[in-house]
């Protein structure tokens, strides 16, 4: 080789080297310049598009995507120039693991590669060559994959470029990820409904999102100019100062509630969380408007303790209160209290007549009137229905409670105008107090209730102060009630029958059924001794039904043993509860039918007081009973408050003159005249008359004289047991005269 040839060769080598260097430099400059522009992109997607553009200026490809390893070890696409790649997950094999470890790898045919073989046909059909560029960093395993539809497209040259520039591309990818997380963070920051921001320790906003504006009503510009403390209500400012002070001392974060003024002077409650920033004297704050929540909480708390209709305290609240005052009073004898138990008189009648809506209005008005006379330090509660409780605290003497009771009575005596009606609704009040050294609220309520019932028994619109005798009586009554229930199931109850005679011919026309109780300890008790107790509970209805069943049963038996007159009957006393029982007639029909009797064998006796207050409904009920075939007696006439004049409205058949009038007949003229008048009036109304309680011949004579046709009483017979009736009936039918039966 000559010298010139050597030089030529050297020049050629040099030229080749220069060409190569120029290529490398161009690649480097293009790539570097392109990667620098990535940082100016607005979004991760834009950055990815820029990255693709930059790389394709150095080597060509058709599509590209970035794969990132997820927690489940699969790799998924996070950015792609072809949307179809997004839905596929890749399970890394040896190839991907080598790439993740940092080795760029070119594939001449993806069909030979395990990781690619699971790709859907749609994507696989358009892909043959692939270049995998590692993007992994300490936080993430990732790779960029460039693809081409031709096989053998990528070669060692592209692998070298990838190897050379992988760190830069990794950095660009990191920037994309950072941009993405910043973009997401920014979006989260902007979109958040919670208030978010950065503030300095002196409370000045450095950064805030739009939620502050929406919540407080100030513009962002106004917020930036003002310290947070300015918006905080005075009572919460100290709390805020304390938070910042703690942060300054080294506390890392804190949660607290404060209230703030809005621009239009509303108050908003905020739940705040504050945490130290990495930058000195700055902290992150997140605040949530919990005003509505607070209102709801308050409302719920209020509703938990208050009656929704009247706004008074409810049972739960006042019982808790009573527990508290009991405790106080036990600790301090001078701390006295009293409880007033109110039960509205005849409220049910008003409610049923006027309807529940008006009934509610009535309760509201009554509540307001009660509240009017009670000092705010005391508590008024509605227990439910028409029952109220008043708790008087710090009283000196019981008389204060009495005074309050009288004030309440006076208020309620005034009419209440509702829907054109003037309604007077009085109340019965039971009073008890800590002077009786109570230990628990249940006992107080019980005793106040007993006292209230006593007041009620006195006719209502009154009060009664509980004493220990009442308690004894109440206990005794409770025992009696218990015994009565037990007695019912043990056949301790019996029906006795008092004959009703025709005063002219002394024939037995019928009988009045009288309930007796053979108490195991007290002996035989009359109805007056236990019926009032039964009337306070459901027992009265049970007893009433039992009585009708027993009477029908006895009539049936008598019928089997002797021929009963067509006009034979037994009258049964109905209680008020029975009368107003919705299915009374149904019940009676079932019983009568079950015994194969004619309803005419039965008569019902009803007292005046049962029908006075709700006459219209009473008439309807009574008429239905009568239409069925059961005649009706008005019992104990004269003892109620009804007027004779409106008796004719009711479908009664017989009027029974109360024994009290009969017994006084022979004592004074006015009583005699009264009975005579009742007799005459009844007759003029088409009613038969039965005189009750005839005990003397004189009484009988007087009654016969005034043409009173029927009567009953000890003169003729005391009530007799069912099994002895048959003898009586048989004798009566034979006209053998009245048997000499000793009154029981």
């Amino acid at each position: 080789m000559t010298e010139s040839e050597r030089h030529l060769e050297a020049l050629i080598d040099l030229e080749r080297a220069r060409v190569l260097e120029r290529e490398l430099r161009l690649e480097s400059e293009t790539l570097l310049s392109g990667l620098n522009t990535l940082s100016k992109s607005e979004s991760p997607q834009q950055m990815f598009s820029e990255l693709i553009k930059v790389l394709s200026s150095v080597f060509k490809f058709e599509d590209a995507f970035i794969l990132v390893k997820a927690d489940n070890n699969y790799m998924s696409v996070v950015a792609s120039s072809n949307e179809h790649f997004f839905n596929h997950e890749w399970l890394p094999g040896k190839l991907f693991q080598r790439v993740i470890a940092g080795e760029p790898i070119a594939i001449f045919n993806v069909l030979h590669v395990k990781e690619w073989q699971s790709l859907p046909e749609l994507l696989l059909s358009d892909t043959r060559s692939a270049l995998h560029v590692p993007l992994s960093n300490q936080n993430q395993s990732a790779m960029l994959v460039c693809i081409h539809s031709e096989a053998h497209y990528f070669g060692p040259k592209q692998v070298k470029i990838a190897r050379r520039f992988a760190p830069l591309i990794s950095q660009a990818y990191l920037n994309i990820e950072l941009k993405r997380s910043v973009t997401e963070r920014d979006r989260l920051f902007t979109m958040s409904l919670d208030m978010m921001g950065i503030i300095s320790f002196d409370g000045k906003f450095k950064q805030l999102n739009s939620a502050w504006e929406k919540t407080l009503g100030y513009t962002t510009a106004e917020l930036y100019k003002t310290q947070l403390i300015t918006f905080v209500v005075p009572q919460d400012r100290r709390k805020l100062f304390s938070v910042f002070r703690n942060l300054d001392k080294g506390s890392i974060n804190d949660d607290f509630e404060i209230c703030c003024f809005t621009k239009n002077n509303e108050i908003k409650c905020l739940l705040c969380s504050i945490g130290i920033c990495n930058i000195e004297k700055l902290c992150y704050v997140v605040a949530r408007d919990i005003t509505t929540q607070k209102v709801i909480q308050k409302k719920l708390a209020y509703e938990a303790d208050h009656d929704t209709l009247t706004g008074l305290a409810n049972r739960k609240f006042i019982l808790n209160k009573i527990s508290t005052v009991i405790q106080r009073s036990l600790e301090n004898k001078n701390s006295r209290f009293a409880v007033l138990f109110l039960d509205l008189d005849r409220f049910k009648i008003v409610n049923d007549s006027l309807g529940h809506l008006l009934g509610d209005e009535l309760l509201i008005e009554i509540s307001a009137r009660i509240r009017k006379v009670i000092f705010s330090k005391n508590t008024v509660a509605r227990l439910g229905g028409d029952e109220f409780l008043i708790l008087l605290e710090n009283i000196q003497e019981l008389n204060e409670a009495v005074e309050i009771a009288e004030l309440v009575q006076n208020e309620l005596k005034l009419p209440i105008k509702l829907n054109g009606f003037n309604i007077v609704c009085t109340t019965s009040i039971g009073i008890t107090s800590s002077f009786l050294d109570y230990q628990n609220p249940v006992d107080i309520l019980r005793d106040a209730d007993i006292a209230m019932y006593l007041a009620k028994a006195q006719g209502g619109a009154s009060y009664s102060v509980f004493d220990s005798k009442m308690h004894t009586k109440a206990v005794s009554q409770l025992k009696l009630e218990t015994d009565l229930r037990s007695g019912l199931s043990k056949n301790e109850l019996q029906i006795f029958y008092q004959p009703i005679f025709n005063l002219e011919n002394k024939d037995i026309e019928g009988f009045e059924a009288l309930l007796r109780w053979n108490h195991k300890e007290k002996g035989l008790l009359s109805a007056q001794q236990f019926i009032p107790i039964a009337e306070k509970s459901d027992l009265i209805s049970i007893l009433g039904q039992w009585t009708i069943e027993k009477v029908c049963h006895d009539i049936f038996n008598w019928q089997q043993q002797t021929k009963l007159k067509e006009t034979f009957y037994v009258s049964v006393n109905l209680s008020a509860k029975q009368l107003w029982q919705k299915d009374l007639l149904e019940q009676v029909k079932n019983i009568v039918n079950a015994h194969n009797l004619s309803p005419s064998f039965l008569k019902f006796e009803i007292t005046e007081n049962m029908i006075i207050d709700n006459s219209r409904n009473a008439i309807s009920i009574l008429q239905r009973i009568k239409d069925y075939g059961i005649n009706l007696y008005i019992d104990d006439f004269g003892t109620g408050y009804s007027s004779l004049s409106y008796l004719h409205r009711f479908p009664f058949d017989v009027l029974k003159i109360d024994r009290s009038f009969v017994s006084r007949m022979e004592l004074d003229q006015s009583s005699l005249d009264l009975v005579r008048t009742i007799n005459l009036l009844a007759k003029s109304l088409g009613l038969e008359v039965i005189a009750e309680g005839i005990e003397t011949q004189k009484q009988l004579d007087l009654l016969v004289d005034m043409n009173c046709r029927y009567g009953q009483g000890f003169l003729f017979s005391s009530p007799i047991a069912a099994k002895e009736i048959i003898t009586l009936l048989k004798n009566s039918s034979k006209n053998e005269g009245l048997p000499n039966i000793v009154a029981l």
Binding site: D13, H112, P156
Partner: protein, 397 residues
Amino acid sequence: MEIWSAWSTEKNSKIAVSDAYFQLQKHKNKEPQIIFLYCSATYDSVEILKELNTLAPHSAIHGGTSCLGVMTENGFHSNNGLGLGMLGLYDPGGHYGVGYAEITDNARLASTQAISAALEQCECPGQVPAMVWMTAAPGAEEDVIQGIQDVVGTNTPITGGSSADNTVSGDWKQFSNNRVLDNAVVITVMFPSSNAMFAFHSGYEPTEKSGIVTEAEGRIVKKIDHKPAAEVYNEWSDNNISDYLEHGGNILSITSLHPLGRQVGAVSEVPYYQLAHPDKVTQDGGLSLFSSIEEGEKLVFMSGTKNSLVNRAGRVASSSLAAHSTPADQVSGALVVYCAGCMLTVQDRMEDVVSGLKEALNNKPFLGLFTFGEQGCFVGGENRHGNLMISVLTFTK
């Protein structure tokens, strides 16, 4: 990556290989990822390979027979035609796979099978290797290159040499892991952890004498410019082969300095050539070459000197670095394919060849083999088979 060479000229095959292997182990007391092993065909290749597999059971082995011996940075190793050399690559971060296939009637297909096997062996199916190294039996190297490119494409440089013997009598062998083959293609796919650079040159310059192949068949040029090829060559070579025109005959040794070249490409308008070495004059006046020829190709009468052949090896090695802008101090080792014909021509100056290579490669280990055909990648990216060429594959650290 670390590369170490070793050699032996021991007569005993087993001793020769174990001797060489222990030289490797001196430098690095563990098995290399891959061992390139070349030796004279007069050794017992089976014995050698068996022994090496025993010594390095986990190393991939690629190799073949080399004419008269080998060269390393330590010199030209040939002792009465006996010489053995190995190059060990210690590259845990890289991947190397060796595969082979017997060439029966379809060298191209065999080649595809061999490279596929190589990719499978290193668990890199479908992946584009940084470099392919081949050792094939002479005769169908163009088809072998095609087969490789059928699989990995044309972007991957292919380097290698055709196995040779000492007497051009067909005793050549190819080695693949534990197999000794005589008509096969052995391919190594390389995924080194560092860079691999290459250069493929000849030591010859073109002359003004040229002609068009007007009749050819396989590796035989029958006519140039419609005239018997041997006559045209004789004319170009100043009657150098006159004695063989009438009856034909082996002209290998007298045509070593004047191969026929075909332009493959140009760099800065300076053409580069793929060479074909005429080895025989046929009965009908044609020329047999060691590479395939196509009708219509322009053949250029090339000219070389012993000096150019001596100096060329170092130049080619330098060129492999220069073309990739790699300074010599980055070299970790090299494989050098030196045409056996060139070697035979400059045999007495082989130490100069070695010196040139040493200097170019910064005294780093290399293994040179002497082949009956060279494969390489031209600067324009063309993978070709040629004769009287020098192919260098250099690795950086």
